[in-house]
């Protein structure tokens, strides 16, 4: 596990009891990755999938708070690690984002509006789509629990609007596996192939930001952190 040997990050995995295929898939993703301490949240289907997801995120946060966790990962069962994932790269980004006051750090997103590169591997984003693999820091726990919501809630939207300090790792360390249906959104269910395209296009957009940041960074006043 390279320089982060011994670290074990509490990682909540949300999975519907009826989705054995997804459970097998996500367990396979974390096999032989001792840096993650998995807590599987097996849950019953909510009549509104997105509300069910949010309420399970709330359960995870409450659990993290009661266990005095400093930082956690919340993960949906369609998360897939990319080839860019390494333990060292990921943990370095967790520390780096923490130093920058980040509330939520995503391992990969399906869309955003605006971005500001804050280092060679991190971008601040104003808004994001998809929550299949997100790091959440303790100072943000209570704000999540306190956020009002109703039956129209979507986790990515609500997290986007209650935090002004959201970041994404580049290159992505996570994308959504396309099971051909979604338990959360109807749009994804109607157009299952879109999800692959959303991630591809979004990573392509972010690559542009990253390239430009690297190209002009000698003229930039940021001092990227080194670990």
């Amino acid at each position: 596990m390279e320089e982060n040997e011994g670290l074990s990050l509490t990682t909540y995995v949300i999975n519907l009891i009826e989705r054995e295929d997804r459970l097998s898939s996500i367990l396979a993703q974390f096999a032989n990755r001792p840096e993650f301490n998995l807590k599987i949240r097996r849950t019953h289907r909510h009549q509104i999938g997105a509300v069910g997801l949010w309420e399970n995120i709330l359960w995870c946060i409450a659990d993290a708070l009661s266990n005095d966790e400093d930082v956690i990962v919340i993960c949906e069962d369609d998360h897939t690690f990319t080839k860019s994932y390494t333990s060292k790269f990921f943990f370095d980004r967790i520390f780096e984002a923490y130093d920058l006051g980040c509330d939520i750090l995503s391992g990969g997103i399906g869309g955003f509006n605006y971005a500001v590169p804050v280092s060679e591997d991190l971008l601040w984003i104003d808004y994001f789509w998809c929550t299949q693999f997100i790091v959440i820091y303790k100072p943000f726990f209570q704000r999540i629990l306190d956020a009002p919501y109703d039956d129209t809630v979507t986790a990515d939207h609500l997290l986007s609007v209650i935090s002004t300090n959201k970041m994404v790792i580049h290159p992505f360390v996570s994308v959504q596996y396309n099971f051909g249906y979604s338990d959360v959104t109807k749009q994804s269910d109607d157009n299952p192939d879109n999800i692959n395209e959303y991630f591809r296009v979004t990573e392509s957009r972010i690559s542009v930001y990253n390239q430009i940041f690297r190209k002009y960074k000698s003229y930039n006043q940021f001092q990227p952190l080194n670990y």
């Binding site: 920058l100 605006y114 500001v116 296009v201 930001y209 940041f213």
Partner: protein, 222 residues
């Protein structure tokens, strides 16, 4: 310092609803600018004709010209315009081998602030204050205009290195909206919804850039 050639395609003043901040009103008596004012009627001037004006302007430039300023019809200078600031950013941007420096934009895709008040931009709309550098001259002269082309997008796709001043020094008059809808390629948006650019978009772009600038400043100072 030699005067900067400023090619301003202007609609008659009576069509500007009394707004007098058009380039010729502010720059005509300047010691810094060599103003080429071409009066046209926006409503009946096809974009292809404006492209021809642009090519003619390039052909008429002195051989040692390093850059000139092009203003599409309906350009207005903002209250943030001043000569000193323009010259300062011409100087700063010159180290990045620019092809285009914009005084404002009605729309842009990705934008990154690489120096205080100077953004790199991916693509833009709005050609109401465009500094065109020498390395663009041949590209423009060699490129023909076809139906459906627009001046701003043509310039945007021709130029590889584009920069944008913020706050804007130029905007467009309400009488010279960029009409129509267009689709950006390569999925710059999450949907394929057309992007309609109008005068209010200069305000929207200002809002977007202000957020990006504020965020950058936050991370620099924290």
């Amino acid at each position: 310092m030699s005067k900067i050639r400023y090619c301003s395609l202007e609609i008659p003043l009576e069509e500007l609803n009394g707004n007098l901040r058009c380039p010729s009103m502010l720059l005509s008596d300047s010691q810094h600018f060599d103003l080429h004012k071409i009066n046209i009627r926006t409503s009946d001037t096809p974009e292809s004709k404006i492209w021809t004006h642009l090519q003619d302007e390039i052909n008429s430039l002195p051989k040692d010209s390093q850059y000139f300023i092009f203003s599409a019809p309906g350009a207005l200078l903002t209250e943030d315009y001043d000569n000193t600031r323009l010259f300062r950013y011409l100087n700063i941007s010159s180290q990045f081998d620019p092809e285009i420096l914009l005084g404002g934009a009605g729309w842009f895709s990705a934008a990154i602030e690489i120096r205080n008040s100077l953004f790199w931009v991916e693509h833009f709309r709005g050609a109401h204050f465009v500094v065109i550098f020498r390395n663009m001259y041949d590209k423009i002269l060699r490129t023909s205009f076809v139906d459906g082309d627009t001046i701003d997008l043509k310039l945007s796709y021709l130029a590889e290195r584009k920069f944008l001043l913020f706050p804007f020094v130029a905007s467009q008059s309400a009488d010279a909206l960029i009409e129509g809808e267009f689709h950006m390629h390569q999925g710059y948006f999450d949907s394929n919804a057309p992007v309609k650019v109008a005068v209010s978009s200069y305000a929207a772009s200002t809002g977007r850039l202000a957020v990006l600038s504020k965020v950058r400043q936050f991370f620099i100072t924290n």
